[in-house]
Each structure stands twice: as C-alpha cells, then as structure tokens.
C-alpha cells in the first residue's frame, strides 16, 4: 500500500533528513511512528501524502506517485497535521464545504464521532478550543473513509477522557483496506492501539516490527532488583524497583510499554536492531 524505494529527502540537498529509506507498509494496520524531535517523522508523513518531494528514490502510495497529487490520490489519503487550519464556519458549514470533495465521506459516521467526542455544535469552529477543533478534525478525517490516514500527534491537546474516546473510536472504525500511521510522542496514549511500531532514527527506519514480535523477543516487567530481571537491555529505576526491558528468553507474556521500548532502542540501538534482524 505504501512503498518507499531507496528514498532520500532533505530540506537542503546536502543535509538529508531521510536517507536511502526502504519501507513497505501494508493495509489493515495501525502503525505508530516514533522518533526524537527533528528525526524526520513529519517529513516522512509529508512525503507519503505528496507535500514534500524526494530528492532521490521513489515513494508509491496506493499505486500512485504522491508528488503528482492526483485528485483520486488526494481523495484516498488524508493527513491530520499537528497544527491545522480551520475556517471561520460552523460545523454544518464545514461539512457542506469540505465533505463533497471526498466521495466516500460518511456524514452519519461524522456525527456519530462528533457525538462521542461531545463536540458542541454552536457558533463558528474558530471559537472552539484547540482540543475541540482537533476532535472535529479527527472525526472528519475518519469520516472521509480515506484508505491512508496519517495523523501527526493526534492526541496533543485532547483531554484525558477524549484520549480514551479517541482510542475507542480508532479501534472500532479501522477497516481491513485502510492503513493508519500515527506519529506521536504521547506513546502511552496509543499503546493499546498501535499494532506495528516504526522507529525513525539516524535518517532511517531502524525498527519496523509488529507489537507481537516485539513482545516475543523482549519482555517488559517490573523487578525489585536488576539481577532478577534476566538479560536487561534497558531499565528505569523507581520507587517500586525497576521497570525493565529484557530479552524474553523464557517466552514470558508481557504488555508492550512503548515508551520503555523506545528508550531502549535509543540507548541500545545496535543490540535491538540486531535482535530483530535475526
């Protein structure tokens, strides 16, 4: 569905942000795109939707070249950026203006999500809080039924109940023919939602693994001492001992802690990359 073929991109040619990137993302999955500030997460998303053009190599999305920005492509790819533009219209006005551009737009779905998010339907959208505006945009993005949904920090600005609603809505509406990429720093918000992890570091995707495989290879647990935790790759000390990421040699079941995993990758890149390459 999304294929990067040796893609290199940089805002300046001499300073690539993404270099020789090879990646294939399939439909029916929710990918979590993680990376440090300035790692190139947004650049990767913008390359997928044709807002940035590669310096070298190619990118294909739904069999099309994103940089051409064909209408049929734009109808199937929706990007929800971290900072978005919302016009000075009311909810109905926004729907009447923008929804007709998306042939598969489902108004009932939009209103259902709007209701779940408790978006107030009064006045113009610019008078809503940032969080409420974000809920409008999330509802709209999902209601377009686009086959590729790209979200850049979707939970930023959402209050705690809304984050829960967000997870519930996303989990309930993704279809097998859709691909969702969520770029985020708020990994704990999306732990339970993401089924594939992509970690961007050193201008490339260094981890591209399903959650199941990560928990098969690594175990995430609490331990009073580091000795009892096995082969520790990464640990964080706390009041109740240590939060540990260790090699899962005993095939222990555990729940992926995305933040711990990300930190483990940053501190032990070589070891983890090698572990998943085997």
């Amino acid at each position: 569905m999304i294929i990067f073929d040796n893609l290199t991109f940089g805002y300046k040619k001499a300073e690539p942000v993404l270099q020789d990137l090879n990646l294939e993302l399939k439909q029916g999955h929710i990918y979590g795109l993680l990376g440090q500030n300035g790692a190139g997460k947004s650049s990767l998303l913008y390359n997928i939707c044709g807002l940035l053009f590669a310096n070298k190599g190619q990118c294909h999305v739904l069999g099309q070249v994103p940089s051409k920005r064909n209408v049929s492509f734009l109808q199937q790819v929706f990007l929800l950026p971290e900072e978005f533009y919302i016009p000075r219209v009311n909810l109905a006005g926004y729907l009447n203006t923008y929804a007709p551009f998306y042939p598969a737009f489902d108004r009932d779905m939009f209103y259902r999500f709007a209701k779940e998010f408790e978006i107030p339907d009064t006045g113009n959208l610019q008078s809503l809080s940032h969080g409420e505006q974000k809920k409008v945009m999330i509802s709209f993005a999902l209601a377009t039924n686009a086959k590729v949904l790209l979200m850049d920090e979707p939970t930023n600005g959402l209050d705690i109940p809304s984050k829960k609603q967000f997870r519930k809505i996303i989990a309930g509406c993704i279809r097998p023919d859709q691909t969702m990429i969520i770029s985020t720093h708020q990994v704990r918000d999306l732990d339970s939602l993401i089924d594939h992890v992509l970690i961007l570091k050193d201008k490339n995707i260094i981890v591209h693994e399903p959650v199941d495989r990560i928990t098969e290879k690594l175990v995430f647990k609490q331990a009073m001492t580091l000795n009892e935790a096995g082969e520790v790759i990464y640990s964080e000390g706390g009041l109740k001992g240590y939060a540990v990421v260790a090699l899962n040699k005993k095939e222990e079941p555990s729940r992926l802690d995305m933040e711990m995993f990300f930190n483990a990758v940053l501190s032990n890149k070589q070891q983890i990359v090698q572990l998943f390459n085997n």
């Binding site: 913008y46 044709g50 209408v71 734009l74 990007l79 900072e83 000075r88 006005g93 009447n96 203006t97």
Partner: protein
C-alpha cells in the same frame, strides 16, 4: 476536470471569505464614493476613478485568492484538498477576471450615479454621466492592462510566502517604471542596426507620409579674370520625401507597438517629423505576444502550484 469540484471550490472560496469580502467591498465603495463626491463631476474623472479603482482593488483581491497556498498551515489544507491544480487556478481566474469586475461594477456604479446626482441636481454642475464605455482607443489598453496585471499578481501571490501583496506591488511598480525607463534604451538597442541616417528602416512606414518643400540652389562662378559677378540659380520649389537622418524612439509607449519619431535635421527651420509605425502584421504580432503573457503567467502559476511543497 470536474464541474462539481469547480462548483465546490467556488462555494468554499465564498464561504470561507465572505466576511472579508463583504467588508472589503463596503470599504471600497466608501473610498470610491469619497473620490466621486469630492472631485468635480466629469466623465473623464468618473472613468479615471472607476478604472484605477478597478485595477487596484482587483489586484488586491487577486493577490488574496491563492494566498492560502503560501502559509504553511493553510497550504497544507489547500494542497491536500482533493481538486487538481488546474481546477484550483481556474476558480481563481474566474473569481479574478469575471466575478470581481462584475461585482465591482454593480457596487461602484450606483456610487458614481449617486455622486453624479449630487453634483448635477444639488450642486447644479452640468456634466454628463460616464456610460461605462472606455474612451475611444482605450478599451484594448484597459483590457490588456487588466488581464496582464491580474495574471501577474496571481503568479506573484504563489511566489511570495509572506507579505505577498506588498512584494507584488513593489515588483509591479519596479517592472512598470523599469520598463518605462528602459524602454527607449532597449528599443534603441533593438533597432540601432536599422536606424541609419537617411535610410528608412526596412518594414517601417512613415506615418503620416509627410513631404517637405525643397529648393536646390546652384552658384555659377565666372571664369578667372572676368569681371562678372557669380550667379545663383534657384530651382523651382518641389515636394520631396526626405529620408530621416535622426531617429528618436521617445514616441513609443510600453503598451504600444513599437513606434518612434524620426526627423530630418537638415530642415533646421521646419524640421520634418516622421512618425514611423510598424506594419499592421508586426503590430499584431506584438499585441499577440503581449496577450500571450497572460496565459503564460497562468501557466507559470499552475506549474508553481503543482510543484508547491511545504518547504
């Protein structure tokens, strides 16, 4: 191309900007009214205010239509909107070249009429009302200027990221005054090989074909030693077409086909002035080239929009 999408784009442009447009149009009516009411009522004034107002306000308007493609936050939404670059530009062109002039006319003509009524019925001035038809010979120039300006402003609005209108205005002024200043020099360079003394440039026709009255004089001297005085014989005056020996291109204007004045400086007392203009077919080529600049700028805008990224 989809007619439906073009209609959606039309609607979107209006829905998102209606408040700004309504306020802007009201302000424009106020400013126009100020000029109409405070200056003397004459068709010339009315035509001048109408034309300048149209050129200025439409340029401001045109510079805002595609402005959403310049700011990163709005550009992202505008570029991702499922419509082709061609459809987006087509809507901008129709707004700029059709809808705005019509709305402008519908709103400012009543202001002009009100001012005319005030001047004639209340103040007692006697002046006719301009009937919206440009002065003879001006229609083509006004149209060319209008189309050219709008196409150029639209292109500039996609070129500059910040302060697009101000930068566009500076660029328009620089091009306009630069062209005026450099026009003669440029034409002199272009035609200097053709402008030889006493030779009318090939392809140029003197207009009007003017003649000078010329008399030739000849002095006959007597043989040496003779006591006779020299005799001067003056031929009968005859009409001659003296070729110009000095060409000045100062007569040409930037929106006119190349034309220049030529004179024969030997006629000191009555310098013969020639106005040379290009033959009709060459004038047509120049006019065509000028008009071609309009779709050329549209094409550049389209390319710019297609190639637009978030960088």
């Amino acid at each position: 191309m989809s007619i439906n999408r073009i209609w959606y784009l039309f609607k979107m442009q209006w829905v998102e900007n209606r408040k700004l447009y309504v306020l802007g149009l009201l302000a424009m009516m106020g400013i126009e009214g100020l000029f109409y009411f405070t200056s003397s009522s004459s068709p010339n004034n009315q035509e001048m205010f109408f034309t300048i107002g149209l050129l200025l306000s439409s340029s401001i308007f045109t510079s805002t239509i595609l402005s959403r493609f310049t700011d990163k936050r709005t550009a992202l939404s505008a570029l991702m909107l499922p419509a082709s670059a061609f459809e987006k530009i087509l809507v901008a062109i129709i707004y700029s070249l059709v809808i705005f002039p019509v709305v402008y006319t519908l709103l400012t003509y009543p202001v002009m009429f009100a001012a005319y009524y005030y001047h004639t019925e209340i103040k007692g001035d006697l002046a006719p009302l301009w009937n919206l038809s440009p002065s003879e010979g001006k229609i083509l120039i006004v149209l060319m200027l209008y189309f050219m300006l709008q196409a150029f402003v639209m292109f500039c609005s996609t070129l500059f990221r910040r302060l697009a209108f101000v930068k566009t205005a500076v660029l328009v002024c620089a091009v306009l005054f630069g062209t005026v200043a450099l026009n003669d020099k440029l034409q002199e360079q272009l035609y200097k090989n053709h402008l030889q003394p006493n030779v009318l440039p090939k392809g140029f026709i003197p207009n009007p074909p003017d003649y000078a009255t010329q008399t030739n004089t000849k002095t006959i001297y007597p043989p040496k030693g003779s006591t006779q005085q020299p005799v001067t014989i003056t031929s009968a005056p005859k009409k001659v077409l003296l070729p110009p020996n000095n060409f000045n291109v100062t007569g040409s204007g930037i929106f006119m086909p190349v034309q220049f004045y030529a004179r024969n400086t030997e006629h000191i007392n009555n310098p013969l002035v020639w106005q040379a203009v290009l033959p009709a077919w060459q004038q047509f080529i120049f006019a065509l080239l000028f008009f071609m600049m309009v779709p050329f700028f549209w094409l550049l805008t389209w390319v710019k929009l297609r190639e637009k990224t978030l960088i």
